[in-house]
């Protein structure tokens, strides 16, 4: 694992304007991503995983904005840049893979046209060089007959192939940050495995830092080096994959682990987390998880828990954990 920080996010607060009111979606999220590292962001829908990536990419919808906090890419502060400067960074220094490859690829253009475009734009390559690079990268992601593929249109390819092409397209530019937003959710398990294996292989070759968004804890176990767990716009736990899986601390992380039907275990009682995920418009004081938490106390309702480091690299935001350690 490299020690260079690719991405530093600090106290990021973003809001969405809904019917003339501002609602906080991210309530102060901080994390770092190093070179050569895969950081998984886990959480249920609506917890702010995707909003975080959109904020980093400057792709927030019109009613969303970054209120405070900083995002640094290779030491450069992104929040203070102009639209034009950020536009130049996008695709070149940070690339993104989306959940549904069909919507990310242009159905009217050939794969070749789409792959070479970014290379010529960001890398200043000639058409010929770009084509060669595209072929090289298609081979790298395990696509047979890359030259023929370049002439095909997205609809001619299967879901797994499209996702591979997306990966090749993004990686060919050699960005320092790769954001993958649920890239395997729409795929079958067998194809998902192929894509995960591919990402693991690629990671060894390049120094890119990968920010991987998913809600599937199984996928996390397959790919992550470090994990952060988000709940309703706040980070609740952060640590290396061993820490999170072997000794989860936050009640929400534990609940998540118990709710996933585990293929490995023979006896398994599905234990759901009671209640429902809060809407962003709901006003919940103190810890956002307290209405669903079995250990909630009066303090949880009143006071926002601070981040504590229970061992090097393992951070938890929970009053219960803090009190037990005292």
């Amino acid at each position: 694992m490299g020690n260079n920080k690719v991405l530093e996010v600090k106290d990021l607060v973003t809001t969405f304007r809904i019917e003339k009111k501002e609602y906080e979606v991210l309530r102060g999220v901080s994390f770092d991503l190093h070179e050569n590292e895969t950081l998984c962001m886990v959480g249920e829908s609506g917890c702010g995983k995707s909003v975080t990536t959109l904020a980093i990419m400057d792709l927030l919808p019109n009613n969303g904005r970054i209120v405070s906090g900083s995002i640094k890419l290779n030491g450069q502060e992104l929040t203070e840049m102009s639209k034009k400067e950020r536009n130049a960074l996008r695709g070149k220094q940070m690339g993104m893979i989306f959940q549904e490859p069909m919507t990310a690829l242009n159905p009217l253009l050939t794969i070749g046209r789409q792959m070479t475009e970014s290379l010529m734009l960001h890398k200043g390559m000639s058409k010929k060089e770009a084509k060669q690079t595209a072929i090289d990268y298609l081979e790298k992601v395990g696509i047979a007959n890359p030259e023929d593929r370049l002439k095909q249109y997205p609809f001619q390819l299967s879901g797994g192939l499209r996702q591979r092409i997306m990966i090749a397209m993004v990686m060919a530019v050699q960005p320092s940050l790769l954001i993958a937003d649920e890239p395997t959710t729409a795929l079958d398990v067998t194809i998902q495995k192929q894509v995960l294996v591919l990402l693991n292989k690629l990671k060894k070759d390049v120094s890119t830092g990968i920010l991987f968004i998913t809600h599937d804890l199984g996928v996390v176990a397959e790919i992550a080096d470090r994990v952060i767990v988000l709940y309703s716009g706040r980070k609740v736990e952060e640590g290396t994959i061993e820490m999170i899986f072997a000794k989860p601390q936050h009640p929400y992380t534990i609940g998540l682990m118990n709710a996933v039907p585990n293929v490995e275990l023979d006896d398994f009682d599905i234990q759901p987390i009671p209640g429902t995920f809060p809407n962003i418009t709901e006003d919940i004081g103190g810890c956002r998880f307290h209405p669903r938490c079995p250990y909630a106390t009066e303090r949880c309702k009143a006071e926002i828990p601070q981040e504590i480091e229970i061992e090097p690299g393992h951070f938890v935001c929970c009053h219960k954990v803090e009190e037990e350690r005292r």
């Binding site: 079958d188 693991n200 199984g218 176990a221 682990m257 996933v260 585990n262």
Partner: protein
Amino acid sequence: MSDKKVLLELKKLKKYFPVRRGVNIKALEDVSISIYEGEKFGVVGESGCGKSTLGRVILQLYPQTSGATIYYGRTFDDMCPKYFAKEVARLLDYQKKATEFFQKSLEIDKKAEMLENEIDALSARGTDSEVRKEAKLAKKLSMLQFKSKELKKDASRQLREGSRTVGSLILCKDLPAVQELFTKAHKETAEAAAVNKKYHELELLYAQSCVNGTPDESVKAQMDAVKEQVEDHVAKARAFRQEAWDKYHGKDILPITERTLDPAYQKKLDGNYETGINLGKLTNNEMRELRREMQMIFQDPAASLDPRQSVGKSIEEVFVINTDYPPSVRKEKVMELLEQVGLKREHYYSYPHALSGGQKQRVGIARAIALDTKFVVLDESVSALDVSVQAQILQLLNELSEKKQLTYFFITHDLGVVKHFCDRILVMYLGCVCEIADSDKLFKNQLHPYTESLLASVPRLKINQEHSTESVLEGDVPSAMNPPKGCPFHTRCNKCMDICMKEKPPIIEQEPGHFVACHLYK
């Protein structure tokens, strides 16, 4: 498992979707399974393997191309489908046609034999022109042979169709007598069904009077009388069938071919005898009546609810269409249902947009169990939900199945879910059955290579020192329009043998209750 009652039986179910002339998407290919009452039957496979199609064909949302879906949740006495009378009337026709076809094929066989002799004579000499003539004749011969084979197939198809109604009695010489007895039996059954309907009406009346606080004893007496009538008719019908069976079974076989005299073949025809209701042959109205008992819950709860109707109205619709409860009773029933599925009474008035995904799915479940449901097809019903909510819904489904004796047909791609939720699992690949087993057996001991690699692909909740860089299954699922010859999985199988490319493996019972279709096991 064998002592359990079968609720649904699929026999060689096929479903083709036509693309253009002569080209079909073969979505289902000879699927034969039995689903027992009260069990949770899981179906897994990759997208495009035909699992959703199977669910829909069972509910007759898609008509089947061939094969039979037999439902044992109701008896003929309870509901007398129209097709039954038609089938009885057609019995003679089946036998006649079968005989004709066989006769024709025999004639052709004779011709073919003559041709063969001619060819033999020619090949003994062997000048140029004779060789040419021989080739011509050989072509003709193969044509004749093909024709005769097809005719024989047609003949046995006719017999098979007939045997669905009367078993091996279709071979009986005195078929008109059999037909007469069965027609009589059928009349009694129809009578029983009609009276039964009356009984149910009275039952409802009585139940309502009980709700009002004054149980109507005269209705109760009427009910008893009607019940007796029903039993009388049923007994008579059974007697007629038994008579036919005793008199003619295994005796006086019409020697259509040598095969018909073979007791093994007769037994096979007996096996075709249907005691349940063949869903594929029902009229639309009859099927609609059965849909009260056979329901479906979809993947996307938002899409299956009307955004302009309040939740209460959406559920109430079921009662408006299917029952004649007065509005006050309907509302109370809906309220009870809402509580049963873990929602609050207040939700009666809310609209779908105000509910979360899990709550919407609960509404979908409430709608599915509103009537006297026995069988529910769940098509990826928890796939769109977040894990914590998914677990809640699974728990709810578990509770309901115990409380209401529901049978689930659970379609999913998530192996973790089936493992902990289902009793038995069917693994499908390209419209074919790969493996059927109890869920704990399947996860301990996978016989089919596809099941094995499918399981190996599932992301584990376990941390390895090294992230895996070895893939388990290469390539994509082939197109169902043009499936590979032989075993459909051979193109991706790492244990592929020569025979796999040529022959489709039969489904065999490798261990009790563990079925597999693979050439590795013989």
